[in-house]
């Protein structure tokens, strides 16, 4: 009986009810969007960082990450390639080899990190190609070619087309020596990168440093950030049968500072969301309160017709619950739709584009719709609304019919 009455009450004053539902709908949409945006922001940050160099997952020799040693190699990249191409979730991959060697010009010698990259596969895994400011990226078929950091090139006084003398030690200790031609100069905006690195073609690196076909790491990009743990397990499983001296590392182990930074951000973000929720709560409570005030006379009539204050309160609560559910459901769907739209098209943060481009950071932010953002967003509004409805409901309990009737 009460349900029917509550339901009919709701629709007896469509305008009022719709306004209240609208408030809840907007609140839900807002929260779902903000939470999706927040989670998306992290994903964007992580994605951007891993695409600079480390990738989502790397396969290396055991112990290589802690102690870089020329001899700790991944001996058979072909085998790794076979595994990677057969696994689900692997979006792209490449191989690299590195060593610390001497690079010199007329009168200056620097110790630099020489990285052998695959000119065709590397752009699918990292943003290095976008950082080339002068000259061009490496191409298949390049041999004695190098990409140099801008600061290094300046210090050595070598322009595009200039020579770099390279002297290092191969995997078996033999001398690696050659003269390279600079084909491109890159600028990542980070001094350390631009001063201490050069990139040469992987095949040539292997020849020069006597790698006997080996590399130092396989760099893997997965379909999405959420796919990473599963892909890591699959790789580890596939490897354990074949070569157990290799280690599989994910982006967290490769970028420990990033995880810390995100956790810090999450903590400060928590405060922001708290404030937002307070505002939302007040908005909703205000809406309910207003609705109750508007209906004071109506309540007076009901009470004078014999409805007890307890029952009235129960009725009111049921109405509120009904409105809330309708509002939350519609709001969730609408919120998900809006978020989905921006997830596809991205959102531009004003003032950030130029800056972002310079540092290889993304220009657009993409909110990330997920079960979590929907559940938490809708859940918070649900709880808040129910709580907000309690206060006016209790106020109703103390109403005196005579007063109520005379209200305007």
């Amino acid at each position: 009986m009460n349900f029917i009455m509550a339901w009919r009450n709701i629709w007896r004053h469509p305008r009022r009810s719709i306004l209240t539902i609208a408030a809840i709908v907007f609140a839900t949409m807002l929260l779902v969007f903000m939470l999706s945006w927040q989670f998306g922001a992290y994903d964007t940050m992580i994605d951007a960082t891993v695409k600079i160099h480390t990738g989502h997952i790397q396969i290396q020799a055991q112990g290589y990450q802690d102690q870089r040693d020329m001899r700790k190699v991944v001996p058979d990249p072909n085998e790794i390639e076979r595994i990677l191409t057969s696994l689900r979730g692997v979006k792209s991959y490449t191989f690299r080899a590195e060593d610390f060697s001497l690079v010199s010009s007329e009168n200056r010698t620097y110790g630099v990190l020489v990285i052998g990259i695959d000119p065709q596969k590397e752009p699918s895994v990292s943003t290095l190609e976008d950082m080339i400011r002068r000259g061009r990226f490496l191409e298949a078929g390049d041999r004695r070619s190098a990409l140099a950091g801008e600061i290094l090139a300046d210090n050595l006084n070598s322009p595009v087309g200039g020579d770099l003398v390279l002297l290092g030690q191969g995997r078996d200790g033999s001398i690696a020596a050659t003269v390279l031609t600079i084909k491109g100069i890159f600028n990542t905006g980070q001094d350390e990168f631009d001063r201490t690195m050069i990139h040469i073609p992987l095949e040539y690196f292997q020849e020069l440093y006597n790698m006997r076909g080996a590399v130092h790491m396989a760099v893997v990009l997965c379909d999405s950030l959420t796919a990473v743990p599963a892909v890591k397990e699959r790789i580890a499983g596939a490897l354990s049968g074949i070569d157990s001296s290799l280690a599989v590392l994910d982006w967290k182990e490769l970028n420990p500072g990033l995880v810390q930074a995100i956790q810090m951000d999450l903590v400060s973000g928590f405060i922001f969301y708290l404030i937002l929720i307070i505002v939302v709560a007040f908005s909703i409570m205000n809406t309910f309160l207003m609705a109750v005030f508007e209906r004071t006379r109506e309540f007076g009539v009901m009470m004078s017709m014999g409805m007890g204050p307890g029952r009235l309160m129960g009725l009111l609560l049921m109405e509120s619950l009904g409105i809330t559910l309708i509002g939350v459901v519609i709001g969730t769907i609408a919120g998900a739709a809006v978020t989905w739209y921006f997830q596809i098209h991205g959102m531009v943060i004003p003032g950030a584009e130029e800056v972002a481009r310079q540092f290889g950071l993304p220009e657009r932010m993409f909110p990330q719709l997920s079960f979590l953002s929907i559940a938490v967003g809708a859940g918070i509004v649900l709880i808040l609304t129910v709580l907000s409805a309690l206060y006016p409901a209790f106020k109703v309990k103390g109403l005196k019919p005579v007063e109520a009737l005379s209200a305007v």
Partner: protein, 406 residues
């Protein structure tokens, strides 16, 4: 006339007014407080970045920044010191030698950055002062002591009291090497910092590199870091003609500057979010209030008031509500910021699992006039716009409608 009417109307129904006002006050408080928090975080970020030896302003030899080798050193530090001491804008300064070196012990060797410091002066300018968590900080008279980061200590499998042999190219191009003893261990925000920087006494570094009192950099602190560019320019003018370059932290930390610019955008974004949060509540409540007062408006129309007057009257009410709410919200916001200005918000309380060492995690909200004015203007203008619909609706009530309504 409209204004007087509007004013009195507001106070006639306290309950209604209170409800609407609350929404506005809370919304505005949220905007002010949020922006202050964000500015506080940005502030903290800048201060952290600066305290890793960047300082507000740095003076180098002209070629040092791209090629930080001992050849590019400052050979007249005494002169510079005198000039800096005479400048009122410069609050504190210190000088250092910073070169790339190789650190080795019996089991490991690797590249590090050797930093020769004045221990006393350095403590007031960079993170090193508070960062030593084990052993002791360097003493001014120390010649054999070295401070290393915890991550480096672990990588080299060594401990306090043990040796570290440092090798670098000296001023005459030869290889100089010198043994130091680990006196203290420091913890920094990033492990990579701990692995990179080792600190010794400036005199010891000068002796090792054969440079006779020369240094490679000066680091200055001024009163307000926002002013750094201007002060750097004026300091630079004093050294015109010398082979020196003067940089403000903005030129040295472009990434930090970039992130700061992004914060401006973020604040607008959050303002929008908060405004939307209060806007729907505002529209609804004002609308409901208007409908509650149907008889009132019908009466006004019956008494001959033109529809445009009704619109104006309701809008005036909205204006007063917005205005009072804005002022109250501003005051509340300012008060909350003031309340936190002593102790700040300690983030580490929220994240107990994370270790924060060397850099403080306390955020002090910072009020910025620009933000407050933006928030006020937005609320007033948009609030009026939002209140237009209820106003128009109110004007449309015919007297007959009103009388029939219950």
């Amino acid at each position: 006339m409209i204004l007087k009417l509007a004013w009195r109307n507001i106070w006639r129904n306290r309950r209604r007014t209170a409800v609407i006002l609350t929404a506005i006050v809370i919304g505005l408080w949220a905007m002010v407080f949020l922006s202050a928090l964000m500015r506080g975080i940005a502030d903290r970020m800048v201060k952290n970045a600066i305290s890793t030896m960047t300082g507000h302003i740095k003076i180098y030899h002209a070629g040092y920044r791209n090629d930080p080798v001992i050849e590019n050193r400052i050979e007249n530090p005494g002169e510079i010191k005198n000039i800096l001491q005479s400048l009122p804008a410069v609050r504190q300064f210190t000088s250092r030698i910073r070169v790339n070196a190789v650190a080795a012990n019996a089991r490991h060797s690797g590249g590090v950055t050797l930093v020769g410091i004045h221990p006393g002066r350095e403590a007031g300018i960079s993170f090193t002062g508070d960062a030593v968590t084990e052993g002791e900080y360097l003493k001014d008279e120390e010649s054999q002591g070295i401070l290393v980061g915890r991550a480096l200590l672990e990588k080299y499998e060594t401990r306090i009291g043990h040796k570290l042999v440092l090798m670098s190219r000296d001023a005459s191009g030869e290889i100089a090497s010198r043994a130091f003893r680990i006196r203290g261990i420091y913890d920094a925000e990033l492990e990579s910092t701990e692995r990179q920087f080792v600190f010794v006494n400036l005199a010891a570094a000068q002796e090792m590199l054969g440079v006779n009192g020369d240094v490679t950099e000066f680091s200055l602190l001024i009163d307000d870091y926002e002013e750094a560019a201007a002060v750097a320019a004026s300091v630079g003018r004093r050294f015109d003609g010398d082979d020196l370059a003067v940089y403000s932290w903005k030129e040295l930390l472009p990434l930090v500057v970039a992130v700061l610019k992004m914060y401006d955008g973020f604040i607008l974004f959050w303002f929008a979010a908060v405004f939307i949060a209060i806007a729907f509540g505002l529209v609804n409540t004002i609308l409901m209030a208007v409908f509650e007062r149907i008889r009132e408006f019908g009466l006004m129309r019956a008494l001959g008031m033109k529809p445009s007057f009704v619109v104006a009257e309701v809008s005036a009410e909205s204006f007063f509500l917005l205005f009072i709410g804005t002022v109250a919200g501003n005051l509340l916001g300012a008060a909350s910021v003031a309340a936190l200005s002593q102790r700040g918000i300690d983030l580490s309380a929220f994240a107990k699992g994370i270790e924060f060492a060397g850099m403080s995690r306390i955020i002090f909200p910072v009020l910025e006039l620009g933000d407050i004015l933006t928030a006020d203007a937005a609320v007033l203008v948009l609030g009026m716009a939002v209140g237009l619909y209820p106003a128009i609706r109110a004007a449309r009530f015919s007297p007959v409608e009103a009388m029939v309504h219950m």
